[in-house]
């Protein structure tokens, strides 16, 4: 039924594994179904994305899928498409106004909270035994990226919650800027660890920084699996293949997972159904609750995590 359809797919960049995997899931599934896909890369420029969506509308496509740069520009872009009678779906980054468009939501703040919650639980057990306050550290993403800000908020929410319940458990968190750049992360993390050698709780706003973290911790003897007295409680967000491997090996305790496959499926079915029904302005909010993949649940939930699927397919093998 999808033969002959044209769908326009606008994305922001393909800079991390997560987005590459998402891009592939969407384009391949559509093409497998015989849909013609027009791809547009906006290179992290929402204005450029708006221009591209306008071009798609000019082209007269049947539907549009976007990965927006942020929740606010998404609103404008969704309005633009719907006003021009083109159905549109928004993948992963939700518009702040969720009234228009097919919106597949992964809430960074909430997913982060789930992962950090698991880490905090572990830290609590340690705190109860040693009575030593925990020194938490967060690698913050680019301040220009709203996802990074959501993740930072989620992290601080959990820390605050625990400090309320168990006063004195966490010290003031150390914030490390990364600008989503491995070298910046390397330099700043190294400085932060030198300044605070007692750090024992690290959360990275994206899993792609785990190798960087390792190269800072390893020479200092802080790269140790769970159970080792030198183990640093560690977590991240994205759920990529490296994170899966490191959880397997015990170095990492938890990662917040956005269910990439589910999101892709929700997006595609949403938009294709609307096209079939002749609905130019389909509106729906389709949540991806996300989950935290942890050392505790990796046996059961392994297959739900896109990173583990890649990992098990041999993604990281030489």
């Amino acid at each position: 039924a999808q033969e002959g359809l044209t769908i326009c797919f606008g994305f922001q960049d393909l800079e991390t594994e997560f987005w590459v995997a998402g891009h592939r899931a969407i384009t391949q599934t559509l093409r497998d179904q015989g849909v013609e896909v027009l791809e547009f890369n906006a290179n992290e420029d929402p204005n450029r994305q708006l221009e591209q969506v306008r071009d798609c509308i000019a082209e007269g496509v049947d539907g549009i899928i976007i990965i927006p740069q942020d929740g606010d520009s998404a609103v404008t872009i969704v309005n633009e498409a719907q006003d021009a009678d083109t159905p549109i779906a928004v993948f992963n980054r939700p518009p702040n106004d969720r009234e228009r468009g097919i919106i597949v939501v992964a809430d960074n703040e909430i997913i982060t909270e789930q992962a950090v919650e698991f880490m905090a639980q572990k830290a609590l057990r340690q705190y109860e035994i040693t009575q030593e306050p925990i020194t938490p550290l967060i690698l913050v993403g680019a301040l220009q990226d709203t996802n990074a800000i959501g993740r930072r908020d989620g992290f601080f929410n959990v820390i605050a919650r625990y400090n309320e319940r168990y006063p004195g458990m966490f010290k003031e968190p150390i914030e490390v800027a990364t600008e989503w750049d491995a070298a910046t992360a390397l330099a700043n993390l190294e400085a932060a660890i030198t300044a605070n050698p007692d750090v024992d709780f690290i959360f990275t706003s994206s899993d792609f920084l785990f190798p960087t973290i390792r190269s800072v911790l390893e020479p200092r003897g802080m790269w140790a699996p769970t159970g080792d007295p030198n183990h640093v409680i560690m977590g991240g967000l994205d759920g990529d293949a490296t994170a899966c491997m490191l959880i397997d090996q015990g170095y990492v305790d938890a990662t917040g997972v956005q269910d990439l496959f589910l999101e892709a499926e929700l997006t595609l079915s949403g938009i294709l159904d609307a096209i079939e029904a002749g609905d130019y302005q389909p509106n729906a909010v389709l949540p991806d609750p996300g989950f935290a993949l942890t050392a505790a649940n990796i046996q059961y939930q392994r297959s739900d995590m896109w990173g583990c699927v890649l990992y098990d397919e041999g993604f990281l093998d030489n």
Binding site: N47, E59, D70, Q144, A148
Partner: protein, 399 residues
């Protein structure tokens, strides 16, 4: 578009004349082609012509390029880029460079939104530095007031002028090279804008402001059947919008300044030899500072257009990629990084080149994995053609 069309007429006239003389001298077809090609290459409009020819050829393969709506889209994409590039052209003419434009766009966008935004969700915004004073649950400083939009526009322009003033002062009073002075401005004001909103966007801008962008249609065209009761929105082509008028107004003003006034002559003198200019009584410091202020103003105009079309105040507008496109447009359009050269017309052609190149590459639906490699190649080819042109012009003049 009007600018382009009027420029086309003499071109066709020239063509006719060539044909007439050719008949008289009975030149062969290849001769004529060579002559015609040379003429084209020597023209000031070279980059424009190349861009349009490339576009026309590409449209034969990718018919989506030829759709009227696509064309009006490209037109509207040019205006904000052009507005910012005008300011950069001025700066390049005085042998400077203004990286701070990237941050100015962001800052102006945020400042404008903080003045006029309506309704702010306290959950999201209560961590902002000015929450409770400038920003409240009811919105920005003048939320809902009828003067909100004009004041916000003035506020945006003033922030552009201020950034320009600061960068200009660093250069003229502290003797800092333009590259570093504007880089400092770029970093500082980028993060200042981010800090102001703690990375958040401010939405809920009033309709009167949004209409300053390309949704403010002044002349629209509809090509469909006459009595269709329901015209789909996408069939209405906005040819002239508020952004067209604003940008062209800015361009003509800049052209006047550059070509017709003492200010423009002083700019060229400074760009060519600042010491000789100074000794000849050119108020170099004042001119340099004013040029950077004008550059900031242009960036702010760009910010108005971008903000209006995105309908949000955004601290991440602008940025390095945009900046490289802008400087690239200026340089393709004939500005020199070593000063003394540049024109508004040329910069417009450079902007046309960059916008059409982007459109063609997107239309060609090349894999996203090769598109950048191809884009780089085309920039290189355009620069090469342009160099060949200037060299030929020189040879032509000397014989």
């Amino acid at each position: 578009m009007s600018a382009i069309q009027t420029e086309h007429e003499p071109q066709t006239l020239n063509l006719k004349r060539i044909k007439a003389t050719d008949l008289a001298t009975s030149g062969s077809l290849s001769d004529r082609l060579v002559r015609w090609g040379k003429k084209l290459l020597l023209s000031d409009y070279f980059i424009l012509i190349v861009s349009i020819i490339a576009y026309v050829i590409a449209a034969q393969f990718f018919d989506r390029l030829a759709r009227p709506l696509n064309m009006t889209n490209q037109l509207s994409n040019m205006w904000p880029l052009f507005a910012v590039a005008i300011g950069q052209t001025f700066v390049l003419i005085i042998a400077g460079i203004d990286l701070a434009q990237g941050a100015t766009i962001a800052l102006a966008s945020v400042v404008g939104a903080m003045i006029m935004a309506e309704n702010l969700n306290p959950d999201m915004f209560d961590k902002l530095p000015f929450w409770g004073s400038i920003l409240t649950e009811n919105g920005g400083l003048l939320a809902g007031s009828p003067i909100a939009t004009p004041v916000a526009v003035i506020g945006m322009l003033v922030s552009g002028l201020l950034v320009g003033l600061i960068v200009g002062t660093l250069i003229t009073r502290f003797n800092i090279t333009p590259f570093i002075a504007s880089l400092v401005g770029f970093i500082f004001f980028s993060y200042f804008a981010l800090w102001l909103t703690q990375s958040r966007n401010i939405s809920g801008l009033p309709e009167s402001f949004v209409n300053l962008g390309d949704s403010g249609e002044l002349i629209s065209v509809y090509f469909g059947p006459k009595l269709d009761p329901e015209i789909r929105r996408r069939d209405i082509l906005a040819v002239v919008t508020a952004s067209t008028v604003i940008t062209l107004g800015l361009a003509f003003f800049a052209g006047y300044l550059l070509n017709r006034t003492i200010f423009g002559k002083h700019m060229i003198a400074i760009g060519t030899n600042p010491r000789a200019a100074e000794i000849s009584g050119v108020p170099t410091r004042r001119v340099i500072t004013l040029v950077y202020m004008f550059s900031g103003l242009c960036a702010a105009v760009g910010a108005i257009l971008y903000t209006a079309r995105l309908e949000i105040g955004q601290p991440t507008l602008g940025g390095l990629n945009l900046l490289l496109d802008i400087i690239g447009s200026c340089v393709i359009g004939g500005s020199s990084l070593f000063g003394g050269k540049g024109s508004i017309k040329g910069t417009f052609f450079g902007v046309v080149f960059f916008v059409l190149l982007g459109n063609i590459l997107d239309a060609a639906q090349m894999s996203p994995f090769v598109i950048d490699a191809v884009k780089g190649l085309f920039i290189l080819i355009a620069a090469l053609l342009d160099y060949t042109r200037t060299r030929l012009v020189r040879v032509e003049q000397s014989t």
